[in-house]
């Protein structure tokens, strides 16, 4: 039976980043991945001779080369990467489009500020106060962090339309909970989207994943694909044995799981006193490959967050899909020095997992086609001739998410319940990734780093570094 210092469940961004930290400090570490490839919620695939990203719209938290502050700079130092390794190219510009009003933003926060000032003259001082408070806010364990962002932001800003317009991109890029999020998460996301900004590698998420996996292996880490965890046996408040899908068994001192809170608990023999709730929010995404660059068809926006109803609603829809709001992403519209080989447009919208789940298999393809047609309609507003320009298409539904990532209910952002410190009811089982609570590409990797620092590098040594590392790890949450 194989034995490891640490087993990591899931070869996504958080698991790979955690693996690099541990392998760098000579821990015997193995990453177990059920799927046939790496990436998890942010993977990639080939279809019909073209490369696709699974979920990537944009990497948030972008800061330029030379920046020493912010999550990206800290992440690069922790993983020992050069800025160039991720090959991030900044966006051209994005938009929040609501009925009769839109706000543009770029990676220069001043532009967004002037857009808000122009569209909402009476909110100028309020918006400035809010953004200044968020810029300085770094106490994620503080009393404010767990409070309702809707109520705290509502204390600064009066116009409900502006509040909705600020919430829309944040919800779409990381809202695991219906209607609201906590203020700690709001602050992190406001900074990562508006104050830092969007970027993208020319070759998509591959660029980042391939660097991570290469480094992990160079450091001696072991990666096993097609190696799902069937269950974990518990002995005296600890995971004692890991049984894989093929029946083989592994032991490890510690387990870091990126599979999700509910999903990880489903693997262990002994349950906690209270059962956490799985996420309810899932999505569909349509992808149309175009035979022309969107800029030549009249659209230069990188990402468009749209909402067509009076009030922006962030909730599980009744129907298969909710076309009242969504996100249009144009991966070509970043400041690349050469055009993308396959220009695409991606449209994301909220979906109802139960509706998709209850479809008879014979009806699934037709439902998928119908949903595709409905959600892609919005593209016509920005690229009128997109239909005749479409040369290939693809689509994911909540069923696709569940099948390839194992996320319950196809909930991409996981459970509404987050475990910021990564602890569980078992002493040697920890969570990283989606349900630890950091979101986005950089956030996911940071989550793996933080949990590895805090719970493995911090507890292995028998000297006094232990306590300090824990404090430091806690301080590491402060971006």
């Amino acid at each position: 039976m194989s034995s490891y210092d640490t087993i990591i469940i899931g070869a996504g961004l958080s698991g790979l980043a955690a693996g690099i930290r541990l392998a760098h400090y000579d821990r015997r570490v193995c990453i177990l991945e059920r799927h046939t490839t790496i990436g998890g919620l942010n993977s990639f695939y080939r279809l019909g001779g073209r490369n696709y990203d699974v979920g990537l719209h944009a990497v948030t938290n972008y800061t330029p080369k030379g920046a020493r502050k912010g999550p990206l700079a800290r992440l690069l130092r922790q993983l020992r990467f050069r800025w160039e390794d991720f090959a991030l190219v900044p966006q051209i510009g994005s938009q929040i489009a609501f009925p009769g009003i839109s706000l543009n933003f770029t990676n220069d926060f001043e532009l967004f500020r002037s857009e808000v000032h122009q569209a909402f003259p009476s909110e100028r001082a309020n918006f400035d106060k809010l953004s200044a408070a968020i810029m300085d806010y770094d106490d994620l364990d503080g009393a404010l962090a767990s409070q309702s962002a809707r109520s705290i932001v509502g204390g600064w800003i009066r116009d409900p339309l502006l509040i909705d317009m600020l919430f829309c991109p944040l919800q779409y890029y990381g809202g695991a909970r219906e209607h609201d999020m906590d203020f700690g998460q709001f602050s992190i996301m406001f900074r990562s989207i508006f104050q830092e900004g969007f970027a993208r590698p020319w070759s998509g998420i591959r660029q980042i994943l391939k660097n991570l996996v290469r480094r992990f292996k160079e450091l001696g880490g072991e990666l096993r694909l097609r190696a799902g965890v069937q269950r974990m046996e518990v002995d005296d408040d600890r995971v004692s044995r890991i049984v894989l899908d093929d029946g083989s068994e592994i032991t490890a001192d510690r387990v870091l799981s990126s599979a999700g809170l509910v999903e990880t608990l489903a693997m262990v023999d002994r349950q906690p006193a209270r059962t956490p709730q799985p996420g309810q929010l899932s999505f569909v995404e349509g992808i149309a490959v175009l035979n022309e660059q969107p800029q030549n068809l009249g659209c230069d926006r990188s990402v468009i967050f749209f909402n067509d109803s009076d009030k922006f609603r962030w909730q599980k829809p009744e129907e298969f899909v909710d076309v009242a709001s969504g996100v249009v992403c144009l991966p070509s519209n970043f400041k690349f020095d050469r055009p993308l080989e396959d220009p695409m447009v991606r449209v994301t919208a909220l979906a109802n997992y139960d509706q998709w789940r209850s479809l008879p298999p014979a009806d699934y393809q037709a439902a998928k086609q119908a949903a595709y047609d409905r959600i892609m309609n919005v593209v016509g507003r920005f690229i009128p001739e997109y239909r005749t320009r479409t040369v290939a298409s693809d689509m994911f539904t909540p069923m696709t998410v569940e099948r390839f990532t194992g996320h319950a209910n196809g909930a991409i952002y996981g459970s509404p319940e987050k475990r910021k410190h990564g602890t569980t009811h078992l002493k040697n089982l920890f969570l990283c990734g989606t349900d630890q609570g950091f979101v986005g590409i950089i956030g996911a990797m940071f989550s793996g780093i933080m949990i590895a620092n805090r719970h493995v590098l911090g507890t292995v040594s028998n000297d006094s570094v232990t306590t300090d590392l824990e404090q430091v790890a806690a301080a590491g949450v402060d971006f």
Binding site: L76, R77, W83, N453, Q471, G476
Partner: protein, 86 residues
């Protein structure tokens, strides 16, 4: 190793942690935190790198000794005098 080699070792560790930084202009008597914007996670990495490479244990109470290059070298000189540079 002597003070000069210890300084080289620290520079080597810093270069590993922050490969994008130009360390040639680093001032020996100014806090590293100020010059490189290192945070506490980075300082822990310096400690862990020293442990990994040289088995040098630095107790938590002594972390403040790592504030500048000069103070770091002074602090490490007695601890590393019998070690060979790798």
């Amino acid at each position: 190793m002597g003070p000069a080699e210890i300084k080289e070792t620290i520079l080597d560790i810093l270069e590993g942690i922050a490969p994008d930084e130009d360390l040639s202009g680093l001032k020996d008597d100014v806090p590293l935190r100020e010059q490189l914007e290192l945070d506490s996670m980075d300082f822990l990495d310096i400690v862990m790198e020293l442990r990994k490479r040289y088995r040098v244990q630095i107790p938590e109470d002594d972390y403040l000794e790592l504030a500048t290059m000069n103070s770091t070298v002074n602090y490490l000189t007695p601890l590393m005098k019998d070690l060979e540079k790798v």
